[in-house]
Symmetry: C2
Subunit: 160 residues, 2 copies
DNA sequence: GTCAGTGCAAAAGATTTGCATGCGA
DNA sequence: TCGCATGCAAATCTTTTGCACTGAC
């Protein structure tokens, strides 16, 4: 989905909720959708300030919470203590993450086999599973070959 | 491993590091090992104060950090914002968690199949995986049957 | 014009740290 | 005795909130 399409959906969501469209909300959403990746609040705040210095920290928090409620952003908690956000794709496909411990690259993947296995494990333990979270940590190929320092952004979900 | 055996290993670890054995460290470790489960700092602090009111919050943090460094405690970050700690078993076996979203019960499980699959996924994406984290969230059998409110502590790792 | 939205600063919650004092080795 | 360990409070860090002011509708 393009940035423009996401912006349209955002404006639409605002109208549905009778919320106002403001320059801050627009700028934050624009930068968020354009960034593609897993941004922390701080990173997003810094990026937004370059476009529009009249934006406060609190508004970034409030707008991300709003995007989350609209289903346009997903909140992730990795092991580094602060929340990160990613734009949600149209098909809203579930996926998991693998994270390079050297360069910080985050790659998304989806595994049908994993989904099935998780379902099976839950059932075995008497649970009805509603969601899960899975993260793999390791070293990526680039870093092992000494090419780290330039974390290549790998977009999209890899089906494995 | 018994509480007593864990305490012995703790005292041993202190000696190895030339650290002092104090009543606070002993009391905190004793309560921690005796509690069995996934304790937050707050829960541990409250429990320790009942035994020894001369213990400060900071010491609980410092002692848990120490236990972690000694390999006797593991830190977990679930989705509730604060860290939880669990005592590490002798065999130091890796396991994952399934959490009931209604009663908060946390059940540990280990799956060879899951380990293999994670290894395979990592390799496919060009990573050498060093660790992973996996949590399932859902509703447990007791809660579905309306028997919630008394989260039964299920100890030990379930092999699935 | 009205009231939701914003910026700022202060509050809140989790965790860490500085420092004077206490106590184990 | 000597210096690590502790308690306390203050400092950090991330996130939320109160409040007066601004601006979208």
């Amino acid at each position: 989905m393009s940035v423009r399409a996401r912006m349209r959906r955002f404006e639409e969501a605002l109208r549905e909720r009778s919320l106002k469209s403001t320059s801050q909300r627009d700028d934050i959403a624009q930068v968020f959708f354009g960034a593609e990746g897993h941004l922390s609040i701080e990173e997003l705040y810094t990026a937004v300030r370059k476009v529009n210095p009249r934006v406060g920290y609190a508004t970034v928090y409030r707008t991300l919470k709003l995007l989350k409620e609209c289903g346009l952003a997903a909140e992730r908690h990795f092991d580094d203590g602060q929340a990160r956000y990613e734009a949600v794709e149209e098909e809203a496909q579930h996926h998991d993450h693998i994270i390079c411990e050297r360069c910080g690259k985050i790659v998304e993947f989806a595994s049908q086999e994993l989904e099935r296995l998780q379902e099976r494990i839950g059932r075995f333990l008497g649970f009805v599973v509603s969601r899960h979270r899975m993260e793999l940590y390791g070293i990526c190929a680039e870093c092992r070959e000494g090419r780290h320092g330039h974390p290549r952004r790998e977009h999209g979900v890899h089906r494995v």
